[in-house]
């Protein structure tokens, strides 16, 4: 039986070598993204005796059963789901942050207040050309800030649409890579290191994909994955070796929508969904700001038409334009402000139409309107920031839970290193023993 002892020891040495290799591989990849800790699963090689040979002992050592990938499908799914939520919330929050800055930093609110106050100051002496010029300059500043706000909001929208279109490109790239990975997975043999690497790649791609949209996954026995975009009820993105193609459509108001193989698609997570939400909010805010600018123009001009200017002529329109982007001054001469009642003589100190203009403006309360818009965007953003914080905590926990289970713990690998090294040495000792036994047997003769 001594030759058997040697072969048992040889299989033990081999197993220990494999264990050391795997440990070394784990240590080397300790900080590689998406690497899942491998462990070797060994099984005994033994055969039971056949008929009439019940007492026989047939031990043939150990063999590598398979290499275990320590990945938990549930934890991975949690990481994808929560990561998708965080990507949505952070894309929306960063978009809203840009929109908030666009409106707030334009200084439109202060410019409106200054315009109002210059009109109030004009009541002290309606024929003072310096005060009239001040009103026109404040009006010019106000129209300028409205235009800046409109431009900045357009720029914020452009940025969001650019990110969304890049996201769509990424989704298409990842889905075609996933389809390729699926094809290779269906061909790879089970438990090969080729397959574990492919599975790593598959999981990494899925995690990457979940950053752009919420996905639902279904795994086949051979490790291939079927991906649905937009949740479990969504359309198929990847099935086997084929991937559908995602497209982005931009509406006239700047909002975006998605199509998967020409069918409309609703996303509930991922950065694409966040950008879509932020663009929806932007479209609403743009309408609000445009309405405010338009109402200032029409209200002021209507009230202006009911009076006479400093030269006794009927009040001409001071503002032109209908939206925040087009609002401008139609007159630049302060004498054109119709402060006096209609039909007054030139140079009249009558301020009745100025009072009418001011009360008409107070009726639409432009400062209050702008404050409302600012409050709308800032409170939405503040709410999203709170949500984002909570989602980040949840996603962080999910990520740590996954990496605690699938990541490499160097301390544990150090222990494994020692353990396999000892196993190797022990198997060596077995060989030594086999050799000694053989020598002893030879010595008898």
């Amino acid at each position: 039986m001594a030759s058997d002892l040697l072969s048992i020891a040889r299989s033990g040495v081999q197993a220990a070598r494999i264990g050391l290799d795997i440990t070394a591989q784990n240590i080397a990849n300790a900080s590689a993204t998406g690497y899942v800790r491998r462990s070797a699963s060994f099984s005994e090689v033994a055969s039971s005796g056949g008929a009439y040979r019940i007492g026989d002992l047939s031990l043939s050592g150990v063999r590598l059963d398979r290499i275990v990938r320590n990945a938990d499908a549930f934890r991975q799914a949690e990481v994808r789901r929560t990561g998708s939520d965080v990507a949505r919330a952070s894309a929306e929050a960063s978009g809203l942050g840009n929109i908030e800055s666009a409106i707030e930093q334009s200084g439109a609110y202060n410019a409106i207040v200054d315009f109002e106050s210059s009109l109030q100051q004009l009541t002290q002496d309606p024929v003072d050309t310096a005060l009239r010029a001040a009103v026109m300059e404040k009006a010019r500043t106000m129209t300028g800030t409205f235009r800046i706000a409109a431009q900045e909001m357009d720029a914020a929208g452009e940025g969001l649409r650019f990110l969304a279109s890049d996201g769509v490109t990424q989704v298409n790239r990842i889905s075609s890579e996933l389809a390729r990975t699926n094809t290779r997975l269906s061909r790879a043999s089970d438990a090969s290191s080729d397959k574990t690497a492919l599975l790593d790649q598959r999981d990494r791609l899925l995690e990457e994909l979940s950053q752009y949209g919420n996905i639902a996954t279904g795994f086949a026995v051979d490790g291939t994955v079927a991906v649905k975009l937009g949740g479990t009820t969504g359309p198929d993105l990847v099935t086997g070796g084929t991937a559908a193609s995602l497209a982005l459509a931009t509406a006239a108001d700047g909002t975006i929508s998605f199509e998967l193989d020409s069918a409309p698609l609703a996303l509930a997570g991922g950065s694409l969904s966040g950008q879509q939400l932020a663009l929806d909010k932007l479209a609403q805010l743009k309408i609000d700001v445009d309405t405010l600018a338009g109402s200032i123009v029409s209200t002021f001009n209507a009230a202006q038409a009911g009076g006479a200017d400093l030269d006794g002529a009927p009040g001409a329109a001071i503002f032109s334009g209908t939206s925040a982007a087009t609002i401008d001054l139609a007159q630049t001469d302060g004498r054109k402000l119709a402060t006096a009642a209609a039909g007054s003589v030139a140079g009249s100190r009558d301020a009745s139409n100025l009072t009418a203009i001011r009360s008409a403006l107070a009726g639409i309360d432009p400062a209050g309107g702008m404050d409302g818009i600012l409050f709308d965007v800032s409170s939405t953003l503040a709410g999203r920031n709170v949500t984002l914080g909570a989602l980040q905590t949840i996603a962080g926990t999910a990520k740590v839970a996954l990496s605690a289970q699938s990541g490499v713990d160097l301390d544990q690998e150090a222990v494994n290193l020692v353990r396999f090294q000892q196993a190797f040495q022990a198997s060596g000792r077995v060989m030594q023993a086999a050799s000694d036994i053989f020598d002893t047997l030879l010595g008898i003769g």
Binding site: Q124, S348, V377
Partner: protein, 306 residues
């Protein structure tokens, strides 16, 4: 920092990193609040407080306009008050001259001499009635842009202004009439009949210069002049009470603006003591975290195994 039991090495580093990063971020936020002195860096930090701050800032801007309005009203009314004092001095002088002229001991020629001075005083009165306010408009002409009184060929003064003086808004719905119109203190009732101070002076000058019946005219003018002086002093009282009213609204505005500033500070300003304490606390935690991180990161089984 949570326990590292049962976690992978990369998870340990990742978690330590995110903990240290969040502590650093907190410290930086506190620092920027300290250095800017403002609690809110952008509206979304606290939307409600930001909205309140915007409204308070708007009230502040409008309040400054009210302040200049109050200053303007004060200077206009003070100018009116000074003019009224001069009116009173002139009328008193007219009374002296009328008393002299009413004396029977004077000759007609002497009365004519007095008449010349009365005519001069009449010119002064017209000039005073046409005074200008701080922005160059007629002080006693209501909202008229030109002179308050015009003289015809015969020297008769006619009021050309509007019926009432303009009002200035002082904020919070309060307003004040910024001046007086000429007729408000130059027209009065004397002996049951309406009289006009400028007309009385003109008539007196005419009567004295003409020579005949000067003493009687001066006698009848005396009572009218007395009533005119009463009208002027009444007007001065009105102006004085309006100035008082402006002072009251100014006081009210100052106290309101103090309240506003207090609210602004409360909502928007950094509480230095609290902030410094919190910063100190955060820095301490950050330092401790860094120290314990470097200790834990050094703990490797590889360094123990030989």
């Amino acid at each position: 920092m949570s326990t590292i039991f049962g976690t992978s090495t990369s998870a340990f580093y990742e978690r330590s990193l995110s903990d240290l990063k969040s502590l650093r971020k907190q410290a930086e936020e506190l620092q920027s609040e300290l250095s800017s002195g403002e609690r809110l860096q952008r509206s979304s930090d606290d939307p409600v407080a930001a909205s309140r701050l915007r409204r308070l800032a708007r009230i502040d801007v409008l309040d400054q306009i009210d302040e200049t309005a109050a200053n303007r009203a004060t200077s206009d009314l003070t100018l009116a008050d000074n003019a009224l004092t001069q009116f009173a001095t002139t009328v008193t002088r007219l009374q002296e001259l009328a008393t002299q002229a009413a004396s029977g001991t004077l000759s007609d020629a002497q009365r004519a001499g007095i008449g010349a001075e009365v005519r001069q005083l009449h010119q002064n009165l017209v000039g005073l009635a046409n005074s200008r306010d701080s922005s160059g408009h007629a002080l006693f002409g209501g909202e008229n842009a030109a002179d308050a009184y015009t003289l015809d060929a015969a020297g008769n003064a006619t009021y050309a202004g509007t019926a009432t003086a303009g009002t200035l808004a002082l904020g919070d719905g309060q307003s004040v009439a910024r001046g007086l119109t000429g007729p408000e203190f130059l027209q009065f009732t004397s002996g049951g009949a309406p009289a006009d101070l400028l007309a009385v002076a003109k008539t007196l000058a005419d009567a004295l210069e003409s020579g005949a019946g000067g003493a009687a005219a001066a006698n009848s003018a005396l009572s009218a002049l007395g009533d005119g002086l009463d009208a002027i002093t009444t007007a001065q009282t009105v102006v004085g009470s309006r100035l008082n009213w402006i002072d009251l609204t100014v006081e009210r505005r100052v106290s309101l603006s103090e309240l506003r500033t207090a609210e602004q500070t409360e909502i928007g300003a950094t509480d230095l003591t609290e902030n410094i304490a919190r910063l100190q606390n955060t820095m301490l935690v950050l330092e401790a975290s860094q120290a314990s991180f470097s200790r834990l990161a050094n703990l490797s089984l590889f360094s123990v195994l030989n």
